[in-house]
């Protein structure tokens, strides 16, 4: 009972504790839970049985082995002794036989007439087929069943006669005679010795004649071989136990009972695996100087068979014991579990009735022990939980109300201070601490009115306290409100709004004071007031107008504007402005307009304020801005002019050269004429022709001068509609002479029918002149035959294009970037302003300029200008 009751709970507790720690244990536990108690009891019984089996196997097995071994050893010893005794007996038989033969009458009779002359090595008489007469009859029947010899030996040891039974020849060692040892005159000698390497038994006895004269000895020589041994062990199977003679020194088998099993000449050690070998020394035989052992060989398998038989018996015994254990344990545990089951059911029934707790895992067929354990734990937990639940609920309620109160206190933006009846502070919230710049410890216990109120407000405060009390008594809303000046710990003062609530608790009065810092509100009020002054102080005119054009508000700076419009605050705006106001209200964005009043230029921004139905008009004096813009434009024009002059200087130089030609010709013709006339040489007609030449050249000079004037004459920047082709042709005429001198022809590829553009022709001419001159400069760098310049005009959509393309070296890619930057030049004499000014001019005209370097050399400049919109019809009208 105690034995199996203990491991149950112990193992359960164990599994419960570690149930979650390892999955293996968890699985085991779940399994354990499912198995019903009877099964468990069987399992436990089995386990115990197996344990018993296992333990007994260890202990009993060893003990039995020891006993069996001992028994075996004894038996082996006995067997060995017995076989040795048999062997000995067998030897003794021979001795007896020899004695009998030696003392037999037939021998004595035979020897009577004999006399053996002493000689060195007499030739012995050998009997083979039939025994000699000196041998008794029984020898033939019994004694000589083995191949043995019987010798008659004279006193000197020489062999005189030999009887050979069987085929074996007498050992060679005996040819010289029998050794001295055998020749004892007194008694029978038995010697086991080695002859020709094999063991032999020699038995000798004195042979006498009838007169008792000692003739010599009768010696029997028997080989100790298998036949001998088999004969000695008569009746014993060599399979169960073989015997052999062993040479101690060499540990070699000399002869065995069965040469096929144990061949002679082999070593004893070779057989230890197969046989259990017991050796015993041979009993002392007279004259033996040879150390021999008598060995008994018992095969291992027969030994094993014996021991296994013993073990089987022992195992049967053990099984029986184990069965007995299993039976007893199973029964006991089953009875216990049945009892437990009953207890469990009773307890569950009780808990269900008493506490309303149902065991969640209780099922039929589960392990009652585990269930009981789990249930009891669960039960305890449920009871504990119920208790905890109650206390926690209570604590939460307490904390919630506490937290709510604290949150209200802490989160409140207002200072909250609680006073006792005497007006001393008993509590205050963090806001109050912050606002009044006083720590909690400093504040508690102090008089509120003295600590926190400015001196002049204290009376008022006491009045408020009284009011609140009275209000409460009279059942009205029990609070009093008022504005006071509070004072911080550092003495600074600020306005506050107070609300006092009296509280009556257990016959004690308290006041809760809510105090709101109204500094920000006061400041905001002031801010709004000052913001309102913004518009009034603005140096720019600001007006507010309603949709009907009535001036609702006008600041001081707006007065001149109103005066100029002939109106004033409260009156209507002129119709023009009223219309803009209407537009501003309809649209989404502000409208900006410009107006000139006297010398002043104003920008007016009409900003709708739709939600109020007003339009704010922000005026701005932009006279200075406009003037600056005009100034800038004039500067630009001047710069263009300077650039033009610079270009013109260069172009004019070329023209001056050109002018030289007709002038020089005229001088030459004139001088030629005068010389001829002086020397009275010239033909009249020739002179007339020369005069004609003079006139022609003078006209040519005049033409050049006209072009020069066209170039130089400064015109104010005026836009007019001109034909772009005309401009190109004129520019061409400026540079024609220079180009000709360079052996370069300028190809004009012009849009047929002309392109009308609305431009400042001087400026555009300037641009074209720049480009053409740049091209000519570039062409200087290539040989005259490669100089080619094309000026092309095209009308592309609503844009006019001029392309100036040369076959010069082109523009290096790294220069492309900075081409239109001011003061960028590759020329020695250039200003670097040509292209930037061209760009400015074109931008002014809403056009563009762009440069390219064509792959096979040369640069291309492309100008785009908008085509004059009204030109086509006007041209048509002219045409």
């Amino acid at each position: 009972m105690l034995f199996h009751a203990e491991p149950g709970p112990a193992s359960l507790t164990d599994t419960n504790v570690t149930v979650n720690s390892t999955p293996a244990k968890h699985v085991f536990y779940r399994f354990f839970r499912r198995v019903p108690m009877p099964v468990i009891s069987i399992l436990v019984g089995l386990a115990v049985g197996l344990a018993v089996w296992g333990v007994l196997d260890r202990i009993q097995g060893q003990a039995i082995k020891k006993i069996a071994d001992k028994e075996l050893q004894t038996q082996l010893d006995r067997q060995a002794r017995e076989s040795l005794i048999r062997f000995d007996q067998y030897l003794k038989n021979y001795v007896t036989t020899v004695r009998l033969l030696a003392n037999h009458r037939s021998l004595a009779e035979y020897l009577e007439p004999r006399f053996w002359l002493p000689q060195k090595a007499p030739k012995p008489i050998v009997y083979r087929e039939s025994p000699p007469s000196w041998l008794n009859d029984f020898i033939k029947r019994n004694a000589l069943s083995v191949h043995s010899h019987i010798l008659l030996v004279d006193t000197r040891g020489h062999i005189r006669e030999v009887y050979q039974s069987g085929n074996m020849e007498l050992p060679q060692a005996l040819n010289q005679g029998v050794g001295e040892k055998l020749m004892d005159a007194g008694k029978v000698r038995t010697v086991v010795t080695r002859l020709d390497g094999w063991p032999y038994l020699l038995v000798s006895d004195v042979a006498e004649d009838m007169d008792g004269y000692r003739m010599g000895n009768l010696v029997m020589v028997v080989p100790i071989n298998d036949t001998f041994l088999a004969a000695s062990q008569r009746g014993l199977s060599s399979v169960h136990a073989a015997v052999a003679l062993v040479d101690v020194d060499e540990q070699q088998i000399l002869a065995s009972i069965d040469p096929e099993l144990l061949s002679p000449g082999t070593r004893l050690s070779e057989w230890r695996d197969l046989y259990l070998i017991t050796t015993r020394p041979l009993p002392e035989y007279g004259g033996t100087d040879w150390n021999l052992l008598f060995a008994t060989f018992i095969p291992h398998h027969s030994v094993k068979k014996m021991s296994s038989r013993v073990r089987n018996f022992e195992r049967q015994q053990r099984v029986r014991a184990a069965f007995a254990y299993i039976l007893v344990f199973t029964l006991v545990i089953y009875l216990v579990s049945a009892r437990l089951n009953k207890v469990l059911k009773r307890m569950v029934g009780f808990s269900r009735r008493a506490l309303g707790i149902e065991h969640p895992g209780f099922k039929r067929g589960a392990n009652q022990l585990v269930l009981l354990d789990e249930w009891s734990q669960h039960f305890a937990q449920l009871v504990l939980k119920a208790r905890e639940e109650m206390s926690r609920k209570h604590a939460i309620e307490m904390r919630a109300s506490e937290a709510l109160k604290a949150a209200i206190m802490e989160a409140s933006l207002d200072s909250i201070v609680t006073l006792n009846r005497k007006g001393e502070i008993i509590d205050l919230n963090p806001t109050a601490e912050r606002t009044l710049a006083l720590t909690r410890d400093q504040a508690i216990g102090g008089s509120f009115s003295k600590l926190f109120l400015a001196a002049d407000g204290r009376r008022h405060f006491l009045g408020l306290l009284k009011d609140s009390r009275r209000a409460r008594r009279e059942g009205r809303i029990s609070q009093a409100r008022g504005q006071l000046t509070a004072r911080r710990a550092d003495g600074s003062e600020f306005p506050v709004e107070l609300s006092i609530v009296p509280i009556q608790l257990n016959d004690r009065s308290f006041y809760t004071i809510y105090m709101h810092d109204i500094t920000n509100r006061k400041e905001a009020e002031q801010e709004i007031k000052s913001l309102a002054r913004f518009a009034g102080e603005s140096p720019n005119p600001i007006l507010r107008v309603n949709p009907s054009g009535l001036v609702v508000y006008a600041n001081t700076a707006g007065a001149p504007l109103l005066a100029a419009w002939g109106t004033q605050e409260g009156d209507l705006l002129p119709a023009e402005q009223t219309e803009e106001v209407g537009k501003a209200l309809e649209g989404e964005h502000s409208i900006e307009r410009e107006t000139t009043i006297g010398n002043q230029i104003y920008s007016l921004l009409f900003t709708p304020i739709r939600e109020l139905g007003y339009v704010n008009i922000y005026g701005r004096d932009i006279t200075a801005v406009r003037h600056a813009e005009q100034e800038a434009r004039r500067h630009q024009a001047d710069l263009v002019h300077v650039c033009r002059l610079s270009t013109m200087g260069e172009v004019a130089t070329g023209m001056a050269h050109e002018l030289n030609q007709p002038l020089a010709a005229i001088v030459n013709f004139a001088n030629g004429c005068s010389r001829r006339l002086q020397s009275n040489l010239g033909q009249r007609q020739a002179l007339v022709d020369a005069m004609g030449q003079i006139a022609t050249q003078a006209q040519r000079a005049g033409e050049i001068i006209r072009r020069l004037r066209a170039l130089v004459g400064k015109q104010p920047p005026i836009r007019s509609e001109v034909d772009l082709n005309h401009l190109v042709r004129e520019v061409h005429s400026f540079v024609e002479f220079d180009a000709g001198k360079m052996d370069c022809t300028i190809e004009l590829d012009l849009e047929p029918g002309g392109i009308s553009v609305d431009v400042d022709l001087v400026q555009i001419e300037q641009v074209l002149l720049n480009l053409v001159r740049n091209a000519l400069d570039a062409l200087q760098e290539v040989p005259p035959t490669a100089r080619h310049l094309v000026v092309r005009t095209r009308s592309v959509g609503d844009a006019a294009e001029v392309v100036v393309q040369d076959s010069g070296p082109g523009i290096e890619p790294e220069r492309m970037q900075s081409l239109f930057e001011p003061f960028f030049t590759t020329k020695v004499s250039g200003m670097g302003m040509g292209l930037p000014i061209s760009q400015t001019i074109l931008q002014d005209h809403g056009g563009s300029i762009r440069a390219e370097s064509v792959p096979h050399g040369g640069a291309v400049f492309l100008i785009r200008l908008p085509v004059a919109p009204t030109v086509q019809p006007s041209l048509a009208a002219v045409g």
């Binding site: 050269h657 030289n660 010709a665 001088v667 010389r675 001829r676 020397s679 030449q693 005259p784």
Partner: protein, 209 residues
């Protein structure tokens, strides 16, 4: 002045009016004038050795005046060149002068300046021609000398005495005397001074004999 008619003033100018007016002016002093519109046109009709001078406009399309000048110098022409420049082309004129032009005049010019310049150029051309023919004749005479005679002549004109020459050449003074006589004879020199002058002219070290 008997050779004057064979002399020609070549005018190269791209301006037609300029060409005809120059022709008109120069012909008024009775000189022969040939005009060409471009350098190529001139080169096509010109052969070296023609007497006269060249009036060249420095700025022209195609081959410029300077290029023509360089071309003629390469052809070993000794035709004197007068450069006509426009106003401000002084740098070009200087370049032309450095390349061997005899004069330059700026347009527009006084007729007298031009004509004087032309006359000077023609005179210079005449001198050059004489010197040229002398050189050619002396060269012919020098060619008849044996190497040993040439050696002796070089030493003689170097101002060495006969004995000195004999020592240097390892011959007798008499042999030197004989060589010297043959040299004088072959060179048709009447005096040592004349021989020295001839050698100088032939070497191009003297402008005129």
């Amino acid at each position: 002045m008997n050779s004057e008619p064979t002399r020609t003033v070549f005018v190269v100018d791209d301006d037609q009016a300029m060409r005809s007016s120059l022709k008109w002016l120069i012909e008024s002093i009775g000189m022969q004038v040939k005009t060409y519109g471009s350098a190529d046109e001139f080169l096509n009709s010109y052969f070296p050795g023609r007497a006269g001078c060249l009036l060249l406009d420095v700025r022209m399309p195609g081959m410029s005046g300077l290029e023509l000048q360089a071309h003629l110098a390469r052809d070993d022409s000794r035709l004197p060149i007068i450069i006509i420049t426009g106003h401000g082309d002084v740098s070009m004129a200087v370049k032309a002068m450095k390349s061997g032009a005899v004069d330059f005049i700026e347009k527009p010019f006084h007729d007298e300046d031009l004509l004087t310049s032309i006359r000077n150029a023609l005179e210079f051309d005449e001198k050059q021609r004489v010197l040229q023919s002398q050189r050619a004749e002396i060269a012919l005479r020098l060619a008849t000398l044996t190497p040993r005679e040439h050696e002796v002549m070089d030493m003689v004109t170097d101002g060495r005495a006969n004995k000195e020459i004999a020592t240097v050449l390892g011959v007798s003074a008499k042999t030197v005397e004989a060589h010297r006589a043959r040299v004088m004879d072959k060179m048709r020199a009447r005096s040592l001074a004349q021989l020295v002058r001839m050698v100088l002219v032939a070497g191009g070290n003297l402008q005129s004999p």
